[in-house]
Subunit: 198 residues, 4 copies
DNA sequence: TATGAATGAGGTTTCATTCAT
DNA sequence: GATGAATGAAACCTCATTCAT
């Protein structure tokens, strides 16, 4: 029986290799070597190279959704929920730099396929954000004129761009901590750049 | 003498092809055909395939910098400047979808090379944003605790993610206009999601 | 102990798969699936893929030799024997299209190996034909200047080419019956195209 | 401009390699080396490996058609025409053993594609045979009950099977000359095995 | 300067065969 | 004996780049 363990090993290896070299520059043999399996073995678990990318993404985003949902369920205040989302996302990206790379590098490499895919797990992830906005509007905490479907993209875009500064091969000394960045982002999205900090 | 016209033709063709197929899936022969030159001719004007990408980017971002700088120079209020930047960026991306694609797809495909490059023209573009923030802080319009270097990334990330919804092959009916999106973004960055709209 | 039943099942499956896909396009796993055994099991019964082909051939030609020999033993007239051979061969090929395909497609795919093999069962089959000729010459029914070793190839070649028109995926409406073809062939080989039909 | 000379060189090399190794065992790099071009060059002239096979066949059969047609046009007697066809075919196969191999080995390897292809050049070749039969019948030289479409296959099948004994790697000493074989075949097809030789 | 035919390295994928269970 | 997951060699084909014309 195909071992679930080997599947995991390949996913982990692929995440690492994709993060380091990018999807197109990653060779199957790199992933195989990293996973310590034969090249052919990979094709017992994945349809083709692109299928590996999709699986990496699906798997990792799935985990993220689980973790964040758990955290959010313990909280009522939409304002705090937004902060939690921002902090958790940044924390994860800092911890799992490979995933961060895969998201922002690979997510944009192909066009049609990824777009199609986005309707699945990834859009579910983004929809957590819009739910928070909607809930905040219902509870009169957030402004009514915020468009949740725009806001979710604005917030995610910021997070994704920011998390790039932690990318593995980044030489620039960017010594912002997660806390600093998270506080800054939360503050900007809550009060804007003009309002007075709370 | 190498004709500047042919250089331009190739750049234009490459922008189109990169936008449509992505950097790695674009073939030199595609670009050559689109530019109506021979494959070999391209190598009289560019060192290699990646050099074309860099040049496309440099050229287009350069144009953008020029245009935005011109607009901003006519204005004093940092609040308005921020709005202008946001609106202009979105307008350009909507108008020049190929560039939008090249920015958000290609800019993230390679790693080291692009990062290196970013120190040049692109970071100059982002620095327009931080200058606006700094100017706003000096004029006491923006909060002092905003970190300009973070804010520039937050804002650009938002813009870039948002501008993807206008991507060429996007089937989803996203009927937000530039005005709507621009207003929303400006408002969020100015007052945040909690404050009251002006 | 290796079950003779499983051996048979694999042979039958291989015949079917080879006929449908051709030797080189047939995969071991196709044969295994068709035979409802595991891939590895096949290697308990056969040395390698080519060995299966040889065995299929040996087995089927063996059966044919048995059947035809039986029929011929009941008959004395070499003229009738020739007719019997022709008719029986064609009947079998029409009935067992898979075998027909295996003979004319596969028999020619490999070179040295098949040629070597031909010294065994298949040449025995052809020698039935030359025996008939020789017997006919001894009984003064056939011309003395016929070279039996050439005649056997001439006759087999005709039969084999003809039997291709009944191949499984042949769309052309070739509505010659076995009887028509058999009569035609027998007549041509007996009287030639010039003589008057009997 | 793609040189016609290189096309020819590749065809010639492919004929040789296919004849020696068989289509499936022939590697593109074998053909390239034999033709003294780079592997990639082959794909400037042919769509894929199978396309090379088709082209080899088309080309060679085309030449054959031309030569035989020329010879036949000089002759009126269908009986002699039949003899000419038989002799010429055998001569060519003996001279160009590679072609003989390609015909009887490769022609049968694939199924649908070749069958489809056969409607073109090859079937034209076979139709020369049926035309001779028909002409013979009209001139009352050949029996009326011969079915031309069967006869053409019978004759070609014989020729093809016979010409195999001249195959390149055939160790068996088959010392029949073209003349012997041709005479034998002609005689069998004209008078049958029973009639008296002329 | 421009061409485009030629190159050839290199990658994805297949699949016969092996071997631990 | 039977299994089928694992192996890894090998091959087709692509395409960036070169260079003779």
């Amino acid at each position: 029986m195909k071992s679930i363990d080997k599947h995991r090993k390949i996913i982990r290896a692929a995440t690492k290799v994709f993060a380091k070299k990018g999807f197109f520059n990653a060779r199957i043999s790199d992933i195989a070597k990293e996973a310590k399996v034969a090249d052919g073995t990979i094709y017992l678990y994945f349809k083709n190279k692109f299928d590996i990318l999709i699986s990496v993404f699906e798997q990792e985003i799935g985990k993220l959704i689980g973790q964040i949902t758990l955290l959010l369920n313990k909280e009522d205040d939409p304002k705090v929920k937004l902060e939690i989302f921002i902090t958790k996302h940044l924390e994860e990206m800092k911890k799992n730099r490979n995933l961060a790379e895969v998201i922002h590098i690979e997510l944009r490499q192909t066009n049609k396929l990824i777009r199609e895919y986005r309707k699945n797990n990834f859009s579910q992830y983004l929809n957590i954000l819009s739910s928070i906005i909607i809930e905040g509007q219902e509870k009169k905490v957030f402004r009514n004129d915020i468009v949740p479907d725009l806001a979710k993209q604005i917030i995610f875009g910021s997070l994704d761009e920011i998390s790039r500064i932690w990318g593995p091969s980044n030489d620039i000394d960017q010594d912002f901590t997660v806390e600093e960045v998270s506080a800054q982002l939360t503050s900007i999205f809550q009060q804007g750049v003009m309002g007075q900090p709370e």
